[in-house]
Symmetry: D2
């Protein structure tokens, strides 16, 4: 299962090179994670309401082509690994060149752990983990 999220590059996301600043990509990835959860009928806010935080422990991004102001991009996000103590999401950011033709702007990967509200490592709740496992997908290696 791959979530597809539209991302329109905001002016505030550009920098003086005239492209989207690279620190926005992890912000966009977070939008993609929300959507993966939502497709599974989970909402991240409900996970937090139950007392858990989905903390980032690792981030990797490969930047291939610059995103520009006002670009209409598509972010693909999928679950790559779902274990009790480690969740891995992967990402592919696409730009349409013309109907039917896209180019890859970036690929990425994030690793996560669950913690409780005191930031102590916790296991992913069993019901959440079961759902996440159903979503694990292994398309074209992201990074």
């Amino acid at each position: 299962m791959i979530a597809r999220s539209p991302i329109r590059v905001r002016y505030a996301e550009t920098d003086q090179m005239g492209v989207a600043h690279h620190a926005n990509y992890p912000v966009w990835f977070e939008i993609g994670r929300s959507e993966v959860l939502q497709l599974l009928g989970l909402r991240y806010r409900d996970i937090e309401a139950r007392g858990f935080y989905l903390m980032l422990s690792g981030l990797q991004v490969h930047y291939r082509r610059a995103a520009r102001y006002d670009d209409d991009l598509t972010l693909e996000t999928w679950m790559q690994e779902a274990r009790s103590r480690k969740l891995v999401f992967a990402y592919r950011l696409l730009r349409e060149l013309q109907p039917g033709a896209t180019e890859v702007l970036a690929t990425g990967r994030t690793e996560h752990i669950m913690t409780d509200r005191s930031y102590r490592v916790a296991s992913v709740p069993t019901d959440v983990l079961a759902l996440l496992k159903t979503a694990v997908d292994l398309p074209a290696r992201p990074v």
Copy 2:
């Protein structure tokens, strides 16, 4: 009492106009507020630890000259009004032209209320208010 905070413009704060994006100014103002409190022997984190949030209810900025990447700026922040249900801070952002000569890049003003952790309006705690009142200053009108 006026707090003076050094601000160096970060690359990520620029936009494709080649200047610091205007949405960074309220972020810088927040640094100035922390410093005003610190000069009074208060730390904002302690106020939150006591169960209060200093919420922004109003923001005004006048932009006169653009800040640029790597500029070394000075932010002046002072308390303009300190009442139980309303706090007002004012700001002046300066750039040194040469030793002894500065120019004003922007002026600003923020209004705040205190709330409890459920975001319900609360009075500023008496001891905090007493301290803040000692800091009220009325230099050159900011906005």
Copy 3:
């Protein structure tokens, strides 16, 4: 003419108060301005391509209720004043309470000047100004 833009609050836009940080509102307003221009058949990127920057000279925001992570908001943006040397946009940020009932989270106002690529004040190009004038609207006073 009022542009209505959907804004979904991103996780990265929250702060440790548990609400959307106030510095995001001017970033959202910028999205609204883009949409006003687009409704007029203008694209901001084309204005820049012609050698002009739409610089912010003033910003005012009144915050009434906090926006929260994952909220689906609607931003209303309209042109309030369109003159050769001064453009004013106004904003109203809304959250739906239930079908047919909304609440106002914030109102705002931005003032702008045009500059050339060297940041020297310029007149708004005649054709752009004529279009902007057709869009001036004066609904409920925003700030």
Copy 4:
């Protein structure tokens, strides 16, 4: 040669987990890169003035402990690889526990290419490359 940059965590950099949002780390890394260049007598703005952009092509961050609002951190940045078509910087973000004792919050690594103003890959200018090579350092493996 290792640049040491002070980073104080801003309130706006926190998220509703109560920690610094992970997307700020690449913004901080950029501050460290500026300082490495500055220690070499280079200023990044001068490199841009000569018509070059230092584009990010890869980013890796390992997050070990969360940074909190108002933390006084130290960012160590060093040049790990300096070649005509590829520059690599490495990072270590530290928090002082007590005088003489620090803990590592995160480590990171960024890969870069030079481009011209049209975003076409370019070789690092010879004089810049020579300087960068003198700075290559290989301390404790960062990521």
